[in-house]
Amino acid sequence: MHIGIDVGGTSTDGVLLHRGELVQSVKKPSRQEDLAETILAVLDGLLEGRDAGAVRRLVISTTLVTNLLATQKGARTALILVPGRGLPFDFYRIAPDTYFLKGNIDFRGKVTEPVEEAEIERAVADIRARGIGRIAVAAKFSNRNRTVEQEIARAIKRLYPEATVVLGSETANRLNFPRRAVTAYYSAVTAPEWNGFADRIEEALHRRGLKAPVDILKADGGTMPLVLSRENPVETVFSGPAASAMGAVALSRRKENAVVIDIGGTTSDIALLIDGEPLHASGGALINGRLTHINALALRSLALGGDSAVKGESGRVEITAERFGPAACFGGPVATVSDAFACHRGLKLGEAERAREKIAAAAAAAGLEPGPFAAAVVEQALERLGALIQGMFREWENEPAYKVWEIVHRRRFRLDRLYGIGGAAELIVPLLADRLGVPYLVHRLAPVANALGAAVARPTLAVSLYADTQQKRYLVDREGIEGSIDNPEGFRLEEARKTAAQCLARLAAARGAAQYLNDTRVILAEQFNMIRGFSRVGKIFRVDVQIAPGLIDEFEGVAD
């Protein structure tokens, strides 16, 4: 048995799969003030009359971290930065309690200005005096040399042993210092609440005799073990849309380019599948207006859902961003997008007569007949959704490229299919697909696609290796892995690839991901000869390998 639970803004869904069939689903209102309780209630609903010991895997997708960051209710955290040379320090005032230290590392990882012990001491003393118990530390180019961050961590340990410390080089290691600093900071901010949540879940599962692995869904559409989520809780941000996208992957199981549109009450969320895999945002997740290094799906949202109120005013038709209740046909107080689509398509939905009256009233205010009014609403909704989708295609086509080959062979997005999820999908998606000129699918399990996506998502893991044969060393952006290159002359791209793959294998073992290593992909492999004078003094490599988002091997699809 596989269980997936997805916490949403208003309700929490759970599904239980047995031999690829959905045997139970549960829906309960989300209690944002106690999400662990909500999750356990859903779990108990799923397990009623079943043996908890027979559960093979439980995956939870929760809004806990998203909410913490959105409401800024996380733990007060100090941020110590070593920005070095470059932009003015003011550009990096990321947190209310930001401390700047002198010091500089260059792009090859050389420390060109050391940090001063006295400065560290002053900063830590001040943090301690203010009673701030959590500290994030980030240095520019700490992805090329961790020693500066580690030196500061040692000093904190000595001067303020009670404080917990998160290092930038341990959260993310790609280029982009501000994103690394923000990621480390948010990780520190969310850790106490997350750990409390993880403790409760672990304890409650233990009591229920559920011994199966418990995984958490991440923003990238993959999972990680609950126990490891304690190190990087911020990776669980925005897992809701990731669950929906993985749900679409699970329901389609086709290697196609597709749009997944999740049409809820007041918003539509759109994700793209490229060759059947969800597309990631190249900029990393955007949290509270700040970009991070967290891998997240490329998503677009529009304040337009099935329950969005529509109104007419002096010849104009308007779809508002407001919701006054359900659609008129389901007893709501005003005409909505759903009512307009149902009316336009001549569908008898709920109290169709009541819907027609509300539409007629709004149409009269616009000086239109009900038919043309509904048609205009439909046209406007399709136009806005279509433009958003086309915009995503263009953005994907124009992703930054730095090689001649990539510019000459610019890719084009060719759409194969549209997948609809969410309450209003059935009404809107057929017409939207028609406009985009592609077939569509609104699966019978679409209402629980999110929980299904969580249940069958496999672990993901990405590793980025940076190697410099002149310095005879390599660094990997996880768990502080680094090593020396004993034979720099013989270290070629192939060796760099192998080293990256070995690191991935080592990390995968601890994440229950070893069985997916045969699907390891090289995302990027670049090498540069370093020439000084007229001879080669070394090579620089970067190799990114990953286990991409996908479905667990045990899942073989559900019937249409």
């Binding site: 792009f107 124009n398 080959w405």
Partner: protein
């Protein structure tokens, strides 16, 4: 406030040869520095992506012998296309200014292009400027070439055009490639005084360059009143550059660009890939985006390391006085040359292609017309490394040519095509009609370049 446009195209898969200064590694550390700073995430900066320049864009500037395909590789088309993307963004008002960090470079490429010289095949700035003029109607343009090498290609392309003020400061041509750029190179008679060369003594510092900027370059721009200022932004005046001998710093580059305030900047040379380029590129971006760059410096920077020689400043005073005088006399000189006439001004020139080992001889004629900046005819013969010779006859009609001169030039082209005249290829470049043709006399075929 509009953002600064940034187009970063390091051509990580292109090199002249594996250990050549123009190799894949050239902008690697610049990439590291810019991306680690998070420059592309700033609201002050908007990143753009390059596209391929079209053959027509190249033909608007160059006569490529034997053909555009033979001279401009895909890498060249992407670099040139990158400058066009920046130009479009600027002309559309999306950005307050723009910097195209592109390679391969272009400022040594001349009107007639037989191959690569000074690491350049096609001239990115000139292609961008002619595109802007054609598409958006710009006319008066100033180019300030801040590369350590004389921008002889750009100078040659605009030597006959009084609407383009070309200013180049560079290490004295007696001490460095390409061995030109002396004060007496002032422009052809119809455009005399709009080519301004400032040869600098080796070891000139920030102080010296900013001195000549304040006393000569900025006053020239003030008087010329260009609609657009372009920085042909070489980065090899830096004290660590391996191919030159100057003492300019990243701080100096930032200050130069702050004062110059170019509308568009296009990367040219600069081969200190690790100790200069990351810092100069960042400094230049910060200056153009209006970001305080006082925290930006090279790790080994020492403000007291370089002191300017007072004798050098006195010499720069004399150059400034002379060149201001030359510039201010330009209208009179031009009128006198046209009045005195023969109807054609003519000259000859030898050009050496260091990279491709080509020796080229040119005969150049320019019509002297009281009503316009008239057409040019260039007869070019190039001897390649293994002795083969290619001959080209080129007719270039500027955008602002009068109709009489234009008809005359088109007639001359047609006549040459009929008679042959010993050239392997005969070209027509009619910028006024945006009509570009290439006649291959061996195959007796004419093609229109689109």
């Amino acid at each position: 406030m509009k953002p600064t446009g940034l187009l970063f195209f390091p051509a990580f898969d292109w090199a002249i040869s594996p250990s050549h200064p123009e190799r894949e590694e050239r902008l690697l550390y610049t990439r590291d520095q810019i991306f680690e700073e998070g420059i592309m995430d700033l609201p002050q900066v908007r990143e753009y992506q390059p596209r391929l320049a079209e053959a027509r864009d190249i033909a608007r500037v160059h006569f490529c012998v034997p053909s555009i395909k033979d001279i401009a590789s895909e890498a060249h088309l992407v670099a040139a296309g990158g400058s066009l993307v920046m130009a479009d963004a600027f002309a559309a008002g999306e950005i307050k200014n723009g910097f195209a960090i592109i390679r391969p470079p272009g400022h040594h490429a001349m009107t007639v292009a037989h191959g690569n010289r000074g690491f350049c095949n096609i001239n990115n700035e000139a292609i961008m400027i002619e595109y802007l003029r054609r598409k958006y109607g710009y006319r008066r343009i100033a180019i300030v070439d801040t590369d350590v090498h004389h921008g002889d290609g750009t100078q040659e392309i605009y030597y006959h055009d009084p609407d383009v003020l070309f200013i180049s400061f560079h290490q004295d041509g007696r001490t460095l490639y390409p061995g030109s750029g002396f004060v007496e190179e002032m422009g052809a008679p119809p455009a005399v005084g709009t080519t301004i060369n400032i040869p600098l003594a080796p070891y000139t510092t920030d102080e010296g360059i900013l001195y000549v900027l304040d006393r000569l370059i900025l006053p020239l721009l003030e008087e010329f009143k260009p609609e657009l200022v372009v920085n042909s932004a070489g980065q090899d005046n830096h004290y660590s550059d391996p191919l030159a001998n100057m003492r300019f710093t990243a701080t100096g580059y930032a200050e130069l660009n702050r004062r110059l305030a170019p509308d568009l900047a296009v990367l040219e040379g600069g081969y200190s890939v690790e100790t200069a380029l990351p810092y100069i590129n960042l400094a230049l971006i910060m200056a153009m985006a209006g970001i305080d760059s006082s925290n930006m410096r090279e790790p080994d920077y020492d403000p007291a390391a370089f002191k300017e020689d007072p004798g050098n400043l006195a010499r720069l005073d004399r150059i400034a006085a002379l060149q201001l005088e030359n510039f201010r006399r330009r209208e009179d000189e031009r009128a006198a040359a046209i009045k005195k006439g023969p109807p054609f001004y003519s000259t000859t020139r030898q050009i050496y292609y260091d990279t491709d080992h080509i020796r080229e001889s040119q005969q150049i004629k320019q019509r002297l017309c009281p009503n316009c900046c008239s057409y040019r005819v260039i007869a070019s013969a190039a001897v390649h490394a293994y002795g083969q010779i290619s001959r080209a006859l080129c007719f270039s009609i500027p955008l602002y040519c009068c109709s009489a001169c234009r008809e005359e030039a088109r007639d001359a082209y047609r006549q040459a095509v009929q008679e042959g005249g010993g050239a392997d290829y005969i070209y027509l470049q009619d910028r006024a009609a945006d009509d570009y043709r290439r006649f291959d006399s061996r195959g007796d075929t004419e093609e229109t370049i689109n």
